[in-house]
């Protein structure tokens, strides 16, 4: 086995011979520097390996050592607040070893072996348990209880269980007598192969929206806990800001943020902001519920390919404890490009745009790991996946966007023209859709009010109408439009600028609670209905535009929430006074 050696190197792809017995997706250590690699092809006794580090200086003849393990992540207490690279190497710890730059051939354990966690057992001797059973728990942060579960592939009888106390992740906490009569020693630290979905009892239908505090998303194109969404857009349209906003404000319990082939300074920004920002739900720093995977664009391409799997496996692990997890992948196009690059080096026959033929199935496999589920231990957990897509030239007809749209159920199309006008978030309301809007209507009716569904469809229709009217204006000018249409255009402008535009950088507007969203929508909707009636009674659109109440509606977003409490009833009153004729 030790005689395996390299016979060919081309970039991140290496071939080694005398590898008989090696398995697909097994991890190997390549060369004298023991660079981490994974087998991605076998031909007789020659293995093709993708290497997760820079291969500069490697020569044919250097040894390749097998690990006998598939590419796996370490799971256990201590994952939260960590920042990893694409193959779960802890970046802070690597920095302690190699300094400011990442050099080759270094490694550090993903989970600290020194840190002790307070373990409370929930089993007793003699109990028979199966995969996914709760062994005990650890308070990982002030708010997150980390449940220790029996690995899904094990079952047996409790021979002995550790007492309540402080343990490191690699100390044995459970001695399990399995069916073959051997005693297995179980630690809090467990491994799981990243390319294999963790097992569940069953998938459940989604029922509850994932509240993000972003008006255009929650009110117009909602996503659910356990749902999937894609955010495609050309560069500069604000994909990353949308992803950051969701990571900051969505009401999931755990956030896994995968920076896949993106900018180093963006990761630095996340690391600067997240510890300082406070989760509106738990009042804890946001970092305390977050796991970051940062494989920036200049880090090795193969590790970029692995990063989304590393992320989703960690997400599944927390889901199995019964948490709602949200995973952001920015950007899935870089992941697809990494696949294309590796595929090209393997000289595989390309599909569209040079992407491998299996692009669609890989994307589907990934998004299918999302969902609301009943876990092995009977809990309910969910993973919501939000993937950014970076289509070349902003052209949505390209393969990654199209293959993604076949799978995801929410589409937030980011638009360069809106971004140019600094209309952020630049979600195009005509192209975007959410297949969950009917599903979440009951929730909104309970937490907002009974009119949610109707107001939403009225306002979307208003925007659609505006688009048609704009086409007419392009031909004949605005002057020739009937008063009713002029008023429609004015309300649409108001809706866009005071409701859909939302500043991520404004301390108040960055997060808009659902109650406030509902009330803002109510005011605009009521204004629309009342004004519409008034125009019918002979009022001009310009006259309505001059009303003081119109100006009142234009600055609601950045208004502090307490102030809005009293603003809302006053404005409702002001609307009734301004339009004494009532609604249609």
């Amino acid at each position: 086995m030790t005689e395996s050696s390299i016979i060919r190197i081309t970039g991140p792809v290496v071939e080694a011979d005398r590898m008989r017995g090696a398995q697909m997706y097994e991890v190997v250590f390549v060369g004298e520097d023991e660079l981490i690699g994974e087998i991605i092809g076998l031909h007789n006794d020659t293995a093709t390996i993708q290497v997760y580090e820079d291969t500069t200086g490697i020569t044919p003849g250097e040894p390749v050592r097998r690990s006998m393990m598939p590419l796996s992540v370490e799971l256990g207490p201590g994952l939260l607040e960590m920042i990893y690279d694409g193959i779960q190497r802890p970046l802070t710890e690597l920095g302690e070893i190699s300094g400011d730059f990442i050099v080759r051939g270094i490694s550090a354990p993903a989970l600290s072996r020194e840190k002790r966690f307070h373990f409370t057992p929930s089993l007793s001797q003699g109990q028979t348990i199966s995969g996914g059973a709760v062994i005990g728990s650890v308070p990982e942060t002030n708010k997150i209880v980390h449940t220790i579960l029996l690995p899904p592939d094990l079952s047996g009888t409790v021979e002995r269980i550790a007492d309540e106390g402080e343990y490191t992740v690699d100390e044995t906490i459970l001695w399990l007598l399995d069916t073959t009569g051997t005693v297995k020693e179980i630690t809090m630290l467990q491994r799981w192969p990243v390319r294999v979905p963790r097992p569940i009892q069953s998938k459940l239908p989604a029922i509850r929206p994932l509240i993000t505090g972003q008006r255009v998303i929650d009110s117009f194109f909602p996503i659910v806990q356990g749902g999937t969404a894609a955010v495609p857009g050309p560069f500069g349209a604000g994909k990353t800001v949308v992803q950051h906003q969701l990571a900051k404000w969505s009401d999931a319990d755990i956030i896994v943020y995968v920076g896949c082939g993106e900018r180093g300074n963006e990761m630095a920004d996340v690391l600067r902001q997240f510890p300082a920002l406070v989760d509106p739900k738990t009042k804890e720093p946001l970092m305390k519920r977050t796991v970051l995977i940062g494989n920036t664009s200049n880090m090795p391409v193969a590790a970029r390919e692995a990063s989304v799997y590393t992320g989703i496996t960690i997400a599944e692990y927390y889901r199995d404890m019964g948490y709602s997890v949200a995973l952001m992948a920015d950007s899935t196009s870089r992941w697809a490009e990494a696949m294309r690059e590796i595929s090209g080096r393997l000289e595989e026959m390309p599909g569209e745009h040079g992407y491998p033929a299996y692009l669609g199935s890989r994307l589907a496999d990934f998004y299918e790991r999302a969902g609301r589920v009943k876990t092995l231990s009977g809990e309910e957990g969910s993973i919501s996946v939000i993937g950014a897509v970076s289509p070349p030239g902003g052209d949505f007809s390209e393969p990654v966007t199209q293959n993604t749209l076949r799978i995801v159920r929410v589409f937030w199309a980011l638009d360069a023209d809106l971004a140019h006008q600094r209309h952020f978030p630049a979600v195009n309301w005509l192209l975007s859709y959410s297949l969950y809007s009917d599903l979440v209507a009951p929730w909104w009716e309970k937490h907002g009010g009974s009119e949610w569904g109707k107001m939403r469809s009225d306002l979307l229709a208003l925007l659609q109408k505006e688009n048609e009217l704009q086409e007419i204006v392009q031909l004949v000018g605005p002057d020739l439009l009937p008063e009713e249409d002029k008023f429609t255009l004015n309300v649409a402008t108001l809706l866009r600028e005071s409701f859909l535009v939302q500043s991520a950088f404004d301390p108040v507007d960055t997060f808009c609670p659902p109650e406030k969203q509902y009330r803002m929508m109510t005011l605009i909707h009521r204004y629309y209905r009342l004004g519409h009636h008034a125009v019918g009674e002979g009022m001009t659109a310009a006259g309505i535009q001059q009303l003081p109440v119109t100006a009142r509606l234009s600055r609601m977003g950045p208004m502090p929430h307490e102030e809005f409490e009293s603003f809302y009833p006053k404005t409702l009153e002001a609307l009734d006074t301004a339009f004494p004729g009532g609604e249609d």
Partner: protein, 461 residues
């Protein structure tokens, strides 16, 4: 890697690529020296290595190579360059040979030119805004130290003038820290190169500049190393010597064409327009070398310049660049024709790091609001101008007409400025308020009323 080995067994030459047989232990990315029959020496790099064969890319091109006498010497090390503070004020070829008549640089250190990725946890988030003196940049797309902000241009547009002006005027308020300019020319004409060198020496910037020149008639493949040499020099100046380095790289499109040439010669499967599928990764390995590192005083700010073939922003080179860089400055042929300098087309421009670099204590408290309002007003002005072109201006409202007035004055008075005119942040913002005061206060819905109170200069309406 093993030590020096020499082979006289070139078996295939195709484009810039050659294959050497008989070698079992060529290291990936190892540097080779190619000795031609006439005694010339060229440098190359191993692109692929297998038992009995190495595929080598030759930076000087493969002209005059043969499969008989030509010898290939494998040096046993990756590509490095000697660096030293003495490089300041010097001019080098695209492969780091001195071409200014001076002697070789006495190295203080040898550095690998491919560089290493900065550990994201060690990055300092860039927040020191640079005053370039150009309103369209400072006011609306502020550049900060450690940012990479490319200029997307087209043939015949004054990107060189703009880059030279930024280089000349750039400063950080209240800071007199040492700065340097590293200029990497890839495939630019003698005249353009001459323009930069003259401009640097006239303004005294020469003493702080390191220049690498690969001109249009120099070997194309050399362009693959030129930016890496420049960035390695920049990293030394920034992170070892603590200087603030501005790296100007022109023209990235020529660099990408060299990549495409190598890829085509290797018969790789192309992605878009024949460019290799790994071009995003390759460009990232250049652009991501911008930044700041925690605990080190220096910084690397990049100003790559690229020409968009046929002014097409969706061409793979600007497209992939835009996905990596932190924004872009886009030049417009239309503004250029109108005689506006710099012809910066603001709508597609962006600076992603602007938010962290502006505001109270950095530039001015009203900066973010003003910029957002200018954008909204300019976008609306442009839309109305388009409308007027079709239907005439009879149907416009009075407010619409104000937007048209704004549009015209904005392009001439705010975007337009003289080639030697440097405006401070305050001057830029004051000028913005002068233009925003064309509108009644109600129209300024993106500005906090307290700033309107403080800066608005129009009537009461």
């Amino acid at each position: 890697m093993p030590p020096l080995r020499e082979f006289q067994s070139v078996v295939r030459v195709a484009g810039p690529i050659l294959a050497v047989s008989g070698i079992d232990d060529a290291g990936y990315n190892e540097v080779v020296t190619v000795l031609l029959p006439d005694g010339t020496v060229r440098t190359g790099q191993v692109l692929e290595s297998r038992k009995g064969m190495a595929i080598v890319m030759v930076f000087g091109g493969t002209r005059d190579l043969d499969c008989d006498i030509t010898a290939v010497r494998f040096t046993g090390r990756p590509m490095t360059m000697p660096v030293s503070k003495e490089m300041l004020g010097r001019i080098f070829s695209g492969s780091a040979e001195p071409i200014d008549g001076g002697g070789a640089v006495v190295p203080e250190k040898e550095m690998e030119i491919s560089g290493y990725a900065i550990n994201p946890t060690k990055r300092e988030f860039p927040q020191d805004s640079i005053e370039t003196g150009i309103s369209a940049i400072d006011g609306m797309n502020t550049l900060v130290r450690g940012q990479k902000l490319p200029v997307f241009s087209g043939s015949g547009l004054p990107h060189s003038l703009l880059a030279a002006q930024i280089t000349r005027q750039a400063r950080v308020r209240g800071s007199d820290e040492s700065f340097a300019v590293v200029f990497a020319a890839m495939g630019i004409t003698h005249e353009e190169a001459r323009f930069f060198i003259d401009d640097f020496s006239e303004t005294g910037a020469q003493a702080h500049a390191v220049i690498f020149l690969n001109r249009a008639d120099d070997p194309a493949i050399e362009r693959i190393v030129t930016p890496r040499l420049a960035l390695t020099a920049a990293e030394y100046l920034a992170f070892d010597l603590g200087m603030h380095v501005l790296v100007v790289m022109q023209d990235i499109t020529a660099y990408c064409e060299a990549l495409r040439e190598v890829s085509a010669a290797r018969e790789e499967i192309p992605a878009r327009r024949g460019y290799p599928g790994y071009m995003y990764t390759d460009l990232a390995s250049l652009y991501e070398r911008a930044g700041r590192v925690k605990g080190r005083p220096g910084s690397i700010t990049q100003l790559p310049i690229l020409s968009m073939p046929d002014d097409d922003i969706t061409h793979p080179v600007p497209d992939l660049t835009g996905y990596i860089t932190e924004g872009q400055i886009v030049l417009s042929r239309e503004l250029h024709r109108k005689g506006i300098y710099p012809p910066i087309d603001l709508l597609p421009c962006l600076s992603r790091l602007m938010q962290g670099g502006i505001g109270e204590g950095r530039t001015r408290a009203d900066h973010a609001n003003v910029s957002s309002q200018l954008y909204a007003a300019y976008a609306r002005g442009r839309r109305l101008a388009g409308l007027v072109a079709v239907i005439g201006d009879e149907g416009l409202t009075d407010v619409d007409r104000l937007y048209l007035t704004f549009l015209d004055r904005f392009e001439h008075e705010f975007v337009g400025q003289k080639r030697d005119e440097g405006r401070s942040f305050d001057e830029t913002l004051d000028r913005a308020w002068e233009l925003l005061s064309i509108f009644p206060k109600d129209e300024l819905n993106r500005i906090d009323p307290k700033y309107i109170e403080e800066y608005y200069r129009g009537g009461t309406g």
